[in-house]
């Protein structure tokens, strides 16, 4: 009896400790842990680039978290996002800098308007995803928090697979390429390994 209890206890302990199914908070922590390879950073000439892979389940959760959605709706939303790969690109000042990325090296309002126009509408021209032998251009690049008091700005970047699903993209290591023409930092590459993306734990919400 004692022996059986011990086995049961050990099994429960192992079951609880493995990162199989995570709740939203734990899932977010997992995504934000750079050891898991889903978030990449690089600093050049005082500008910091941060790229985060956003899994379809996580985007769906953010979309539905304040709504009463049944399993059918959830599944349909998740399915719709599974046709693409989404990344969050954040461009901001380096850790030891304090400037606002939309205003750095800007002399007047006209230059500021040009900077915002370039960031909002031309960033997608500077982004690509090298995956296997193919180069993908973003299907959507949307700048967020334009008027925010934050020093950095976010860009949601979505790539579509040519084959109508993201599984073929996830077979290969991917290089997210940002060819900077605004801050003189050159070409910046961020490699996401297929093994890291495919090792994502299951997410329940």
């Amino acid at each position: 009896m004692r022996y059986k209890t011990l086995i049961l206890f050990t099994t429960l302990l192992i079951g609880c400790s493995r990162e199989g199914i995570l709740n939203p908070k734990a899932y977010m922590a997992f995504l934000n842990n750079s050891d898991n390879g889903l978030i990449k950073e690089k600093t050049v000439a005082g500008v910091k680039f941060k790229i985060k892979y956003l899994p379809s389940e996580f985007i769906s959760y953010n979309l539905l978290k304040n709504q009463a959605a049944d399993t059918e709706i959830k599944d349909s939303v998740i399915k719709s996002y599974q046709n693409s790969l989404t990344f969050l690109l954040n461009i901001g000042p380096a850790d030891n800098e304090k400037f606002d990325i939309t205003r750095v090296d800007i002399a007047d309002y006209s230059a500021f308007a040009d900077r915002i126009e370039e960031m909002a509408f031309q960033t997608q021209n500077y982004i690509s995803l090298a995956c296997g032998d193919s180069i993908y251009k973003p299907a959507i690049t949307r700048m967020e928090n334009i008027n925010s008091p934050e020093k950095s700005r976010n860009f949601i970047v979505v790539f579509n697979s040519e084959k109508g699903g993201n599984r073929d993209l996830r077979k290969h290591d991917m290089s997210f390429i940002y060819r900077d023409e605004m801050f003189n930092t050159g070409v910046n590459k961020f490699v996401f390994h297929a093994s890291d993306i495919n090792a994502l734990p299951e997410f329940k919400f």
Binding site: V44, R179, T185, G186, V187, N188
Partner: protein
Amino acid sequence: MKNSGNIALILCIVLAVYIIFDKAANNPGKKIGVVQMEKLVYDFNGMKEATKLYNEKVSEWGIQTDSMQLKLSSLYEQIRLDSLNKDKDKLKNDIRKFLILKKSYTDYAKNVKETASEKDKEMTLGVVNQLNEYIKNYAMEEGYDVILCNSPQQNIGHVADKIDVTEEVLAYSNKKYEGLK
């Protein structure tokens, strides 16, 4: 008793000498490395890719310039024929077209030259900024206090091979440029 005092004195001297030598031997001083900037810049993958991209752009602009030049040559030939045929109205009209096109061509060529020069500067600055960051990170990771950058004009008179870290920094920079850890 006198002997034991001498022995103690000798021991103290030996100990002091040992401590001084030991300190000198174990003090590594500053760790210094030197990189040959010309080699580092031109062998850096970021520079190679940027140059390729720049050449593609220049080539695109060149196609447009060539096409305008061809049109100008053709119009010039037409003017010559108009002159031989003594077709005054057509000659006048073609000269007018020629002058407009010539002005467009001159403006475009000037614009291309300026843009090419600006892009060249931007590209080089991007590459140099990245390399500066990689040199800094390499120095921090490998425990260097100073990494000196030697220019093609040899602003450093002599560099011993053992402190020349160009190849190491190049390998490190290329790895980082490709987005690898």
